[in-house]
């Protein structure tokens, strides 16, 4: 019986809000256009990430695809990052297209704007999933079969929705309180569904690469492809190892100096040394293995923080207040038919804006701070609300009551 690594990488960049003050509200509507040298410049950040991560990683992935006919992977790539690549790094976008052209890279479905719309507006959520599907068809020439919700937000409702929408699979965190004694290294079936399958991230193995790889204080440092493969081979019964992580792990979260590219380059050949070992995309693993059990997830889980819940995005009053205010504008924004206004409203839905407002652990200067272009969560909120008030102003200019 064969055993597969399911490597799934998530590519995303938000449209960060510039230092947008009360003096800009009702005057300028360029929320996302920071000066190039500013912390919040989307163009500068995208080009930096393209140089450090997308281009070098894709070069190696393409090499691996060419060298190893069995090597495969899955990608999710948001609409907001595809747009930015089109504008500011066409060569990086082309490198993603080149991967897809091998026929062994599967694109995963999600919301175009990397939003939490599922929890606030089902109509808006479905619109964004549809927008993403069309963008992927247009850019990569394939139609996604498997769905992931933003930040791997998952519960029974998500599975039920994805089942009805015709997806063959859905992705989630393999969180211990959910799995109990069970292993994430199998295919599961969500409760209350028939057709759809559930793939759960093996967070221990995934985080060994995504978080711990460069940590010299980690007992397993340095992690080699040989050692990692050895761990996987030790699990005799597993069918699939779901290694799910941010794409930017390669070259951005883990810098080139950590040896992460060497690890990536050696992993396939080490893994494939053992007979029966292979790689599969998310669809293939679902096609190849029967579900071993059903999994019930009544409460929402995500892949973030030790809590694995939504508290990184919706954990304080600034976050819940601002996101609710934004979705309260939905009907009025959509009714204007003003595409620029609707687009700005959607860009403001990107979950990163709310993540930057997270005050959990702010005192410890933790991982949240690493990913934020702002000094404090309060600054993030002030910029967001000034932009929100400007959206309201634009609505009022059109005669809409706000």
């Amino acid at each position: 019986m064969s055993k597969a690594i399911v490597l799934y990488l998530h590519v995303h960049q938000p449209y960060r809000i510039r230092h947008y003050t009360v003096f800009d509200t009702a005057v300028k509507h360029d929320y996302f256009d920071a000066a190039y040298e500013d912390q919040e410049s989307n163009e500068r950040i995208l080009q930096k990430v393209a140089q450090k991560s997308y281009l070098p990683t894709n070069a190696r992935l393409l090499q691996l695809l060419n060298d190893n006919p069995q090597f495969k992977l899955s990608l999710s790539i948001t609409g907001t990052v595809i747009e930015q690549l089109e504008k500011w790094s066409p060569e990086a976008l082309q490198s993603f297209k080149d991967l897809c052209a091998t026929g062994r890279v599967e694109i995963v479905a999600e919301t175009y704007h990397h939003s939490l719309a599922f929890f606030y507006s089902r109509a808006e959520f479905e619109m964004q999933v549809e927008m993403h599907k069309r963008k992927v068809q247009e850019v990569f020439g394939q139609t996604p079969q498997v769905f992931r919700n933003t930040e791997l937000c998952y519960n029974n409702d998500v599975a039920y929705w994805a089942d009805r929408a015709g997806y063959k699979g859905v992705l989630a965190e393999g969180w211990d309180p959910i799995l109990g004694w069970r292993s994430p290294n199998f295919v599961y079936r969500p409760t209350y569904t028939n057709q759809i399958r559930l793939l759960m991230k093996n967070y221990k193995l995934s985080d060994d690469i995504a978080f711990r790889f460069g940590d010299q204080n980690w007992a397993e440092w340095p992690l080699t492809a040989d050692k990692f493969t050895h761990w996987l081979n030790a699990d005799q019964s597993a069918t699939n190892f779901n290694l799910f992580m941010d794409y930017e792990t390669f070259g951005e979260h883990q810098w080139e100096e950590s040896g992460i590219f060497g690890f990536l380059s050696h992993l396939p050949q080490e893994w494939l040394k053992t007979g029966g070992n292979t790689f599969m995309t998310v669809s293939e693993v679902i096609d190849n293995f029967e579900p071993v059990d059903q999994v019930d997830v009544p409460e929402t889980i995500t892949w973030a923080d030790t809590e694995r819940d939504l508290s990184a995005w919706l954990g304080n009053g600034m976050q819940t207040g601002s996101i609710q205010a934004l979705y309260d504008l939905q009907d009025r924004v959509i009714a204007t038919g003003d595409l620029a206004l609707i687009d700005d409203w959607r860009k403001l839905q990107t979950s990163d804006h709310f993540y930057y407002m997270c005050t959990k652990y702010f005192n410890d200067g933790d991982i949240h701070a690493y990913f934020s272009p702002y000094q404090t969560p309060y600054e993030a909120y002030i910029n967001f609300m000034n932009a929100y008030h400007d959206l309201r102003y634009r609505l009022s200019e059109k005669g809409v009551t706000v």
Binding site: T21, F23, M318, G321, T359, F362, T376, Y378, Y381, M385
Partner: protein, 397 residues
């Protein structure tokens, strides 16, 4: 220890800092004799307090303001007025007399008014002197040069001191910049606050008008401090004018007195925000506590603030804070808004954001209060005890 004031007769933060520091230090195995230039009932039992009265003086009358003149009533009934500089000289002479009969290991002096006295003691007794800097002359002069006599006293003191303690990195940087003192001679010991010493509110706020307006959707910005160039209030009023344009239901409560009082009233009127700005004059006790409590945001826009205790007091009484980056407190407090004192637009942006978005106010305060509740003077007293030990060893070596 040589100091200039202690509560309840303090004019500002200096007296409170000395009081809290000595209280924390008194838990250690050391005894403190605190020498003041005047006599008063302090109700303090954790250290000895000596009044450095010159001979023949029956009483010293001082106003609430540290830098005002002092009235000396002599035993023959006549009165004499001394300015602050003369007063510092008199203090120096009387301290020099006093130490002839006292036993001590270290002299720890607070701010320039006591530095000459410290130098005299060092000259007479050869003991180590530690100068504790709560502000330097360019702070008080609002980033300008200041009084050359005071500058000279500070410079001489810093050069001759065995060690200098600065209440913040900001102040340490100023000492290095203004006086060329080597960085390794200056230790940063941040001020703090004792949450348990905060007098609780009584549930009935003095500021009835503001409470009534808040019930109608108004929001209140408070400032507490001397109305002097160092405190940067003209910038706050200029920012206020921008805030009121965008958040008309904003009121500004300015608590304090000082030489800029009338100038600020004038400025508010000129900016067209006269009705939005309320001046209360100097307050202490309940009226001061209630001012902190009634605010939705406390703003400390100081041009240069060595530490800045008032934002912490405001947090303790229920209001979040916006502080200038040119302050010591901005080095220790994370959950607050921070702005360059000169950046009026950003100050307005941040104030308006709090005025228009209650979740920002509430989240800021909730998190700031958690920081506040963990604060204590114990860290400061540990550091100072260590400094004492180092210098005692040197003294006996």
């Amino acid at each position: 220890m040589l100091g200039w004031e202690l509560p309840p007769h303090n004019s500002g933060g200096l007296g409170i800092a000395c009081y809290q520091l000595c209280k924390a230090l008194s838990k250690k195995d050391l005894s403190i004799d605190f020498v003041l230039p005047y006599k008063a009932d302090h109700g303090i039992d954790f250290m000895d307090i000596t009044a450095a009265h010159p001979q023949g003086v029956a009483s010293v009358v001082r106003s609430g303001i540290a830098y005002d003149s002092y009235k000396y009533v002599l035993e023959d009934g006549s009165e004499q007025w001394l300015n602050i500089y003369e007063q510092a000289q008199l203090y120096e002479q009387t301290v020099a007399k006093l130490v002839e009969t006292k036993e001590f290991d270290i002299v720890h002096a607070h701010d320039w008014l006591t530095f000459r006295a410290a130098l005299r003691v060092k000259e007479a007794r050869g003991c180590p002197i530690i100068l504790h800097v709560h502000s330097v002359e360019s702070d008080r002069a609002g980033a300008r040069h200041g009084n050359p006599l005071v500058h000279e006293i500070e410079e001489t003191g810093f050069l001759l001191a065995d060690r200098i303690i600065a209440v913040s990195q900001h102040t340490k940087n100023m000492i290095i910049r203004d006086y060329g003192i080597p960085a390794d001679k200056i230790e940063v010991v941040h001020n703090s606050i004792e949450p348990a010493d905060i007098t609780p509110l009584d549930g009935d706020n003095t500021y009835r008008y503001l409470e009534a307006m808040k019930a109608q959707g108004y929001r209140v910005v408070t400032n507490v401090g001397r109305l002097t160039v160092q405190k940067g209030l003209p910038n706050l009023l200029r920012a206020a004018a921008e805030v009121v344009k965008r958040a008309p239901k904003t009121l500004f409560l300015i608590v304090g007195s000082g030489e800029q009082y009338y100038e600020l009233i004038d400025l508010a009127a000129d900016l067209g925000i006269g009705p939005n700005v309320l001046f209360t004059d100097f307050q202490r006790g309940k009226k001061l506590r209630d001012a902190f409590a009634v605010g939705d945001l406390f703003v400390m826009p100081s041009v240069s603030e060595p530490f800045g205790l008032t934002p912490l007091e405001a947090i303790g009484y229920g209001s979040p804070a916006l502080v200038s980056k040119q302050s010591g407190v901005s080095e220790v407090l994370k959950n607050c808004l921070k702005v360059d004192f000169w950046d009026i637009d950003e100050m307005a942006n941040q104030i308006a954001a709090v005025m228009l978005n209650d979740p920002l106010r509430d989240e800021l305060h909730k998190n700031a209060l958690m920081e506040f509740e963990k604060m204590s003077w114990d860290d400061a007293s540990h550091k100072i005890e260590r400094i004492y030990q180092e210098h005692r060893e040197v003294a006996y070596a």
